[in-house]
Symmetry: C2
Subunit: 323 residues, 2 copies
């Protein structure tokens, strides 16, 4: 059995040895740049860890792990164009570095490349794996579209918001664990449970991200309040809107839309409303609930393996908690 | 055996019955809009006709034909953003109608949808078919990148230009016939010959397109000279550059780059140079050569079928010639 760190090393060296053609340079160079960007490799690790529960042969799962990571990076390339985002993981985004057209076309090539990695799997369950990947990929597009739709909408309900982040964040994690499990030969029931685990984990993870953006984390040292300054819809805003009286709703809406307010004042004013409505606590409750639900799914797996504990610990560390 | 017209009807009704979700509307509506746009359905017809040579069961080839058509339309959505093209088949492009972000994301969904159609094929040769599709898809991206690169380049050789249009136009036709043939159970040798047929046919078709843009076609009634006005690199320009003396080269380059010249005068001046260098005749020679090479490949197929003649006639009609 490999440790999580060993799996990470195996994955990095697998990814580093993938050879992209050198020409046309503007098509392929951004792919290498984007994949070398690192990030947490959360999704490929979920592929490898859930695969390991059912099959110790990690080698066979590496192309699937890479496919999921390449797909994830494809979404970042295109999202950064749509969101006009110049910075990604502390470096210029592909969009900012090479321009819109290069980011579109290199992104397309990455999506195709993800399918190429998948297509090379030698598994009797290849059609099922492809179907899971296709579903995941389409749902991620749906999530991104809803996210953009929400920017234009005055009213977004908590239910709609949860549905959007399930599509935009959770289904990619769910795709990762399902594909890993299927490839490892998991029984259908266990695939479904792992899927449920990942959906809940994704929700917990995204809500925590929303909370930390406004309330911060001593360890992270990240600038606080970015979402508030952008007037972005998050779990905090939609929950506040649903709990507030009419006057507070109007106040919050006006505050979030105000671009001329001094940043420090805007953040403080919005957070004062959140605090009054007990939003941090309500959000934390949801995070706990979702995370507990996620872990509970792991307890129901019919297949016994020490790797289940490894996956549990990975999920726990992901939430920034002690194992 | 179905007639070509019957196959066209079958394909249109197959495509019309594909059900896209209704929400999110901005993700899925452009897909229906784009696919209903018609066009020649050249690529799916190549799938169906080459499949028919080896297997009369057209039903099984319809999803593959649709996959290739959906892929083709995906490339149009993204190309129109990159080329800033407002009109496609006489209607507003998706990019012009819904904007850049919608065209990016709906295009992505179409690419995924193409894979979904392919993934549903029940063929023992699915991995091989996927590999052919992946190769085709990546090469089409390479072709688009080279095409954009050429716009920035002073000097493009005839060889480089032929390579670019092989990638941008021919490989999609080659992918279509290979996938149709593989799915029909064709021997590898026949797949290779059909591929060669489609590569040459694509080149003949593209060169004819280049020629007609400047010299027109009575039947088409299309405005003449669009490529010249845009200063676009075509077979005519790159051949002229390679045949001209230094002075004429400079003259042609200056003319093509001149945006302030009166359109009628610019077209006449460029065509005068082409005529002096015998470019229309040289292009016509290349078209004949490529088209003959294409048809010759069909004569070498090891599988005997009346459908080979049908494919020959389809290719001939495509070139706007009498059968």
């Amino acid at each position: 059995m490999y440790t999580t760190e060993q799996l990470q090393t195996l994955f990095e060296s697998y990814l580093a040895q993938t050879d992209f053609p050198s020409e046309p340079q503007l098509l392929y160079a951004p792919i290498g740049y984007s994949l070398a960007g690192g990030g947490k490799r959360l999704r490929p690790m979920l592929v490898l860890l859930s695969h390991a529960i059912f099959d110790p042969n990690v080698q066979q799962a590496l192309p699937a792990a890479a496919a999921v990571e390449v797909f994830h990076n494809f979404t970042l390339l295109h999202d950064d164009i749509m969101d006009n985002a110049a910075i990604r993981r502390g470096k210029p985004s592909v969009y900012a570095k090479w321009g819109r057209n290069v980011a579109i076309l290199s992104g397309d090539a990455m999506l195709i490349y993800a399918y190429r990695l998948l297509s090379g799997l030698t598994s009797p369950r290849l059609p099922q794996i492809l179907a899971a990947f296709n579903r995941m990929a389409l749902e991620v597009c749906e999530g991104q579209q809803y996210d953009m739709d929400f920017e234009e909408k005055q009213k977004v309900s908590v239910v709609d918001y949860m549905h959007m982040i399930e599509l935009k964040t959770s289904v990619l994690l769910a795709g990762a664990v399902s594909i890993g499990a299927m490839l490892g030969g998991a029984p259908d029931d266990d695939c479904r449970r792992l899927r449920r685990f990942a959906i809940e984990l994704g929700l917990a993870f995204q809500l925590q991200d929303d909370l930390l953006d406004s309330y911060g984390d001593r360890q992270l040292g990240k600038a606080i309040g970015g979402d508030i300054l952008e007037g972005k819809k998050t779990f905090l805003t939609v929950t506040a809107m649903s709990h507030a009286d009419a006057a507070t709703r109007t106040e919050l809406r006006t505050l979030l839309a105000d671009d001329r307010l001094e940043p420090v004042k805007k953040i403080a004013a919005v957070k004062a409303i959140y605090d009054k409505l007990d939003i941090p606590h309500l959000t934390q409750q949801q995070i706990e609930l979702r995370f507990e639900k996620a872990l509970a799914q792991l307890d129901t797996l019919t297949t016994e393996s020490p790797c289940t504990q490894q996956l549990r610990e990975f999920a726990t560390s992901l939430m920034g908690r002690k194992k």
